[in-house]
Symmetry: C2
Subunit: 536 residues, 2 copies
């Protein structure tokens, strides 16, 4: 197991299945204080997402000393440097880490993981700032722009969100949202954008003020990925929720001020083996349209929680046994069925938010990653939804309307009706269409080949037998995330790079309309109307 020439096709998972020898009893490599500090930062930024803060594994395998000491520094360095076929990125070859950093991380993960501190409501309160009080905000837009067609663009490494006018393509201002914003979500009215950083900081942007203005912020955790708002009738713009990675909990915050109101722990037992897990992280959250509920993916335990926000004092939570490890997902076209991916099980799960019950789960391909998914009408199979995959170049399409009047269409519900090989290969993160469009856009962001990760494919959903049209978007970076404008006739795409870009395409002609350059690592961009209405 020596040298840097380990076959990259061998997955880390396979190696970790080796029996533990005497080596495990060895001392872990020592790190200096400065090295600890640097390694903890890199681990948080690059590793924790897949392997967990406590290194018990999720999308990636466990990285506990028992196994990592057995593998040893050299082998670990190879994995970190060169990645694996199982989905581990090549951090050194890919230019994300230096060789020294790979060595540091190889030594770091042979030491026992240390749990970051717990966080109480008092801690959160200390970080809470109302920058513009509610009574100082406008009661109607202070501008005549078509604000429902604004776009919020995340500049991940710049710690900023830029707001663009989708009609005029003007930059309306950059907001200092803090480190590594993961996503933006809209309030039910669309007036507010809420950002969540990977560092757990939530911010709130008012789109009605003269120029977009940050009106409040709060840090609800030390690591987070999701934020959502209360969209049920009667609760519009009233509440928001942050789903945290560490501590493993969610926090309900006021929708107008971000005042923290309630923390609920997600620690508990796995749904299947019923083992205690100290770190069940909150992945995607969606807002129910059937009841005052949020739908939370609890990644490590494999539960989907329906959190009733109508009574925070006597809070009701329904815990639905689903699958591990839950990640992302979205609604069917009627927003009744929530369909999250359990990527490590190659599975999509379906729950019915009208009845609050588990419906089914089915396999689609290696590591499905639907993002929020996509819904359209297939000429042969009727209303369908789909997912792309991290682990293979495949678009899976299934029926998603069990109540359809056409019984043939209804029968297709939760059956994979098409499984289309994508010639650009694996590594897809997102797919997107729009009710007014006949295009389905697909990215290949994590594919190792530049010819794939710099390109997009577009499929004509009215002619699903035809091959998708693929084209390069840029000669640098990685293409990621597609978002329609309000009218559904324009698609915005990001080129994720230190000198990144947003490229705007005409949805009909697939011609480039405009390109914003020199943006620092754009990684996601959200149209107000489509985000507030959950259009996809």
């Amino acid at each position: 197991m020596k040298g840097k020439k380990l076959a990259l096709g061998v997955s880390l998972m396979a190696l970790l299945a080796f029996p533990v020898s005497q080596a495990a009893a060895q001392e872990a490599p020592k790190l200096t204080e400065d090295e600890w500090k640097a390694a903890k930062r890199i681990y948080f930024d690059r590793c924790a997402g897949c392997h967990g803060t406590l290194r018990k594994g999720a999308t990636g395998p466990t990285l506990l000393p028992k196994r990592t000491k057995e593998l040893g520094t050299e082998a670990l360095e190879v994995f970190i440097s060169e990645g694996t076929a199982g989905g581990m990125p090549a951090f050194v070859s890919g230019g994300m880490l230096s060789a020294q950093e790979a060595n540091l991380m190889a030594r770091f993960i042979q030491n026992d993981p240390v749990a970051p501190p717990e966080i109480s409501l008092a801690d959160i309160n200390e970080t809470w700032k109302v920058i513009v009080p509610v009574d100082k905000r406008p009661s109607k837009p202070e501008h005549s722009r078509n604000w429902q067609n604004f776009f919020g663009v995340v500049l991940r490494d710049a710690g900023k969100v830029v707001i663009y006018d989708g009609d005029t393509k003007e930059n309306l201002g950059e907001l200092p949202t803090g480190f590594a914003v993961h996503i933006l979500r809209s309030s039910a009215s669309g007036r507010y954008f809420y950002s969540i950083g990977r560092d757990g900081k939530a911010t709130m942007i008012d789109l009605w003020s003269k120029t977009p203005t940050m009106v409040a912020e709060v840090k609800t955790c030390s690591e987070a990925r999701s934020i959502e708002t209360s969209k049920f009738h009667g609760y519009e713009d009233k509440l928001a929720i942050v789903g945290c990675y560490w501590p493993p909990h969610f926090v309900v915050i006021d929708g107008q001020t971000l005042e923290p109101k309630k923390i609920v722990s997600t620690r508990g037992y796995t749904y299947d083996t019923n083992e205690y897990h100290p770190e069940p992280r909150v992945a995607a959250i969606v807002p129910s349209h059937y009841s005052p509920e949020w739908v939370l993916n609890i990644k490590e335990t494999g539960f989907i929680w329906l959190v009733d926000y109508s009574n925070l004092r006597d809070m009701k939570i329904k815990m639905i046994e689903a699958e591990r490890f839950l990640h992302d997902g979205g609604w069917d076209a009627k927003k009744r069925y929530f369909m999250p991916a359990a990527n490590m099980k190659d599975t999509m799960v379906v729950i019915d938010t009208k009845t609050g019950k588990f419906v089914t789960k089915f396999k689609t391909g290696t590591k499905p990653h639907p993002g929020r998914g996509a819904n359209w009408n297939d000429p042969k199979y009727g209303p369908v939804s789909g997912t792309v995959h991290l682990g293979e170049g495949r678009l899976a399409v299934w029926g998603s309307d069990p109540e359809n009047k056409n019984k043939e269409f209804a029968k297709n519900a939760w059956k994979v009706v098409r499984s289309i090989e994508l010639k650009k290969g694996s590594g897809s993160l997102f797919m997107k269409t729009h009710p007014k469009s006949k295009n389905l856009w697909l990215d290949f962001t994590l594919n190792p080949e530049p010819s794939s990760h710099r390109s997009l494919c577009v499929m004509d959903i009215t002619k699903p037998e035809e091959e998708a049209k693929c084209f390069d978007v840029a000669d640098h970076g990685r293409v990621v995330h597609m978002e329609y404008n309000k009218n559904g006739d324009e698609v915005w795409v990001a080129v994720w790079d230190k000198a990144g870009e947003i490229v705007v395409f005409d949805d009909k002609t697939l011609k480039e309309k405009t390109r914003f350059k020199n943006l620092v690592t754009p990684t996601g961009h959200f149209n107000v109307y489509n985000t507030m209405k959950d259009v996809y």
Copy 2:
């Protein structure tokens, strides 16, 4: 703070509020391996109940090294030996520990607490035994006894439960239930008794077989206090639930076989300060009569959980913010309102299981300890409930029928209408009456004076202004727990001692009817009919 002459009136809590000096940085006293083993056993048996397995405190203060090292071995020894006015028992003077053991425990608690291991469903499955399969059990009673008037008597330190025929007073057999059974509960039909030991072992006794027979057992945790059954229409004898102290979780088990079916963690945030607590223990559980729900007191976080058992797969839990630290409690006469004690806040809480909502909370006196409580009709105030107290000699009585047709009576709901000083003093654990009785029985089990803890008082509830009649039950041990027979004309009382007794009184004349002697530490005794119907 030297010597054994510390004023016993000073509470440990007050001392623990002292600022921490340099002493806290000192090393903790060392223990040999044998001492560790002995101390852990004593801590589990004598200390964990009030101070918590992780020593974060509950009914007793926290015992973490930061504070205990400051106090030092000598001062701690005094507290352990002599007790405090705040409710800490005098373990050496009271004959429960030797002086050497007190010294050992004083040293032990200056060391860091160690969390006992987690327990998974697989671990629990390994302990599960069906002794008599369901199809080998009788379909009707194999005897002609009045089995609904059987009594199950816990012989705590003997690791046994004895079943008595309440009509004939015959001993029908001793069942080896294991160490330190805490309580018995009946299935909805009354046919089965379920025991739970402090060591987390649940057993199931069939009262229909020729002689009472243990038909199944399972160990769901390493420490527990509560067990309950599914009593809602349609779920009779179907399910049971064990509330655990460690790990902090509850386990749903099959009501016929004790097969473990589901574990749910109770770890989470305190209801008030919203701080994470690693050990929120499940105290009393009652079965709702309004819906397929169990009502759980989560002690350390101060929540009351309504656990819906109608769908274990997609389980619904309502988490009601109540008060800390929740301990015991019971129903009002109509079994709609659950009234648990938050003893450290001197408070009774009321929740409405019909609406699933918090109703109110109110102060009654120092450390209320109602057991399951008692309900009767007060001549002046109408339907009332009451509690005795650990911390003072007081019976608090409040209205408990807000829907009463008599509006004056309804208005008394959740108001303390009588606060009666009890001349025998503090240390009461239980009170009991019966719908057919005009007596209210009161014990003083934890009172330091033998003249109190060996006696009982009986109040005439039709003449609440009259002084209660008090009398000695035994010249040894401590009198604890009263239970009526099915007809409500006889009261069974335990004398808790190594050579203990059960004494049966005629409820009308208060005359002794019979006495069972030489029972090893009887600590609780349960009538089948009254337990299955929640009569109190």
